[in-house]
């Protein structure tokens, strides 16, 4: 039986299950901590760093999604420094690829776009890099557009952990990192893809989308996948 422990989040005393992450505990207590790579039911990897928080006595910021709660923890989730860091992270995400919201299938249904609005990002202070990246339309049902990818790896994890096919991977390092299908095949030539669409539904942006949708038309439903993952105890 998981035992209850007490932590303090933004001064408020909160009971949490031992073994839960700080992010889960904070969300359960009704707190808002921004995140993009976290998805309920999947493992946490701390890829996007948006959920960074301050923990008293720790000399660096910690991602809430990969930090387990410990009894007596004192956590700060909102202050000027954290808000500045989170805005900077979002701006760097925008600068790293070609996010043209106006012509995106996920316009108005995009987690990156919504978070930029919520965190008050009205411009990007860093020079855009305008990388030349691939668009893969070889799959019968789905499209992959790397211009919109933020490397959150939700697709990688949902495919490996829930569907069990492990079609997606990330290759290379730093700004050169790219999402690839299997050992760098076209998606349409994948041997393992079951065309289940879980990756598409999990993708927070328009990087993975169903074919046949125009601008603003692609809405996604990750919640049923999270429920399924929880039922199967993939990552509780």
């Amino acid at each position: 039986m998981p035992s209850k422990i007490s932590i303090r989040i933004d001064g408020e005393l909160i009971n949490a299950q031992s073994g839960a992450s700080l992010l889960d505990a904070a969300l359960a207590a009704g707190k808002f901590i921004p995140s993009l790579c976290h998805m309920k039911g999947l493992s946490s990897v701390g890829a996007c760093r948006l959920c960074v928080v301050e923990v008293a006595g720790v000399g660096r910021l910690l991602p809430a999604c990969t930090t387990p709660v410990q009894d007596g923890m004192n956590v700060t989730t909102q202050n000027d420094k954290l808000r500045r860091y989170r805005r900077t992270i979002l701006e760097l995400l925008f600068a790293e690829r070609n996010h043209v919201c106006a012509v995106c299938v996920s316009n108005n249904h995009c987690e990156l776009q919504a978070l930029a609005t919520r965190l008050g990002v009205t411009s990007v202070r860093f020079p855009y890099t305008f990388p030349r990246v691939a668009v893969d339309l070889s799959h019968r049902k789905f499209a992959q557009d790397q211009n919109r990818c933020i490397l959150c790896t939700r697709c990688v994890r949902v495919c490996a952990e829930v569907e069990g096919a492990h079609v997606w991977n990330v290759v290379s390092r730093g700004v050169g990192s790219r999402l690839v299908c299997e050992l760098n095949r076209n998606w349409g030539d994948s041997r393992n893809c079951t065309s289940c669409g879980k990756c598409v539904q999990s993708c927070p942006t328009g990087a993975l989308a169903e074919k046949g949708f125009a601008v603003e038309e692609m809405t996604k439903r990750p919640e049923p996948i999270s429920r399924l993952a929880n039922l199967r105890g993939v990552h509780s």
């Binding site: 012509v103 108005n108 009205t122 305008f130």
Partner: protein, 176 residues
Amino acid sequence: MSKAKVATVWLDGCSGCHMSLLDIDEVLIDVVQKADIVYGPLVDAQEFPEMVDVTLVEGAVSSQDDLRLIQKIRSRSKLLVSLGDCAVTSNVPSMRNNIPTKVLLERAYVQGADVNHRPPTDGVPTLLRHAVPVHEVVKVDIHVPGCPPKADAIAFVVTELLSGRKPELAGKVKFG
């Protein structure tokens, strides 16, 4: 009290932001009571005037002409507002940026054309290598994203500015 001088300018964009500006409807009446529109596609001035109070910029900086004009505008404007995603992010005009301009023009005017197989040279400005947001070449005071920004947001910005306040836009506007 003398009226404020407001200018608008249309760089590499579709004029949708100017359409949205016209969509502020009756607020326009308040605006013209407090300000004179001294330059832009909506009025007939040929030369950008000196000492403009507020300039709203639509569009990305894509050509040598855009660059020269925006530098002149910056030096003659007290407040510069990037209006819309093209000015703020370079948006759709930037989708050409990972294609070299020579290849781009060849594709459009040679491979894509039935007659006159050469890129135009007379009366058209030279393209910059990249279409860039306005704030990458001159200082911008206020960013109003949106494609186009909602009329309400533009009305809010203009009204606040004409009342001598800096509009706080966080949470009120979005990209796209």
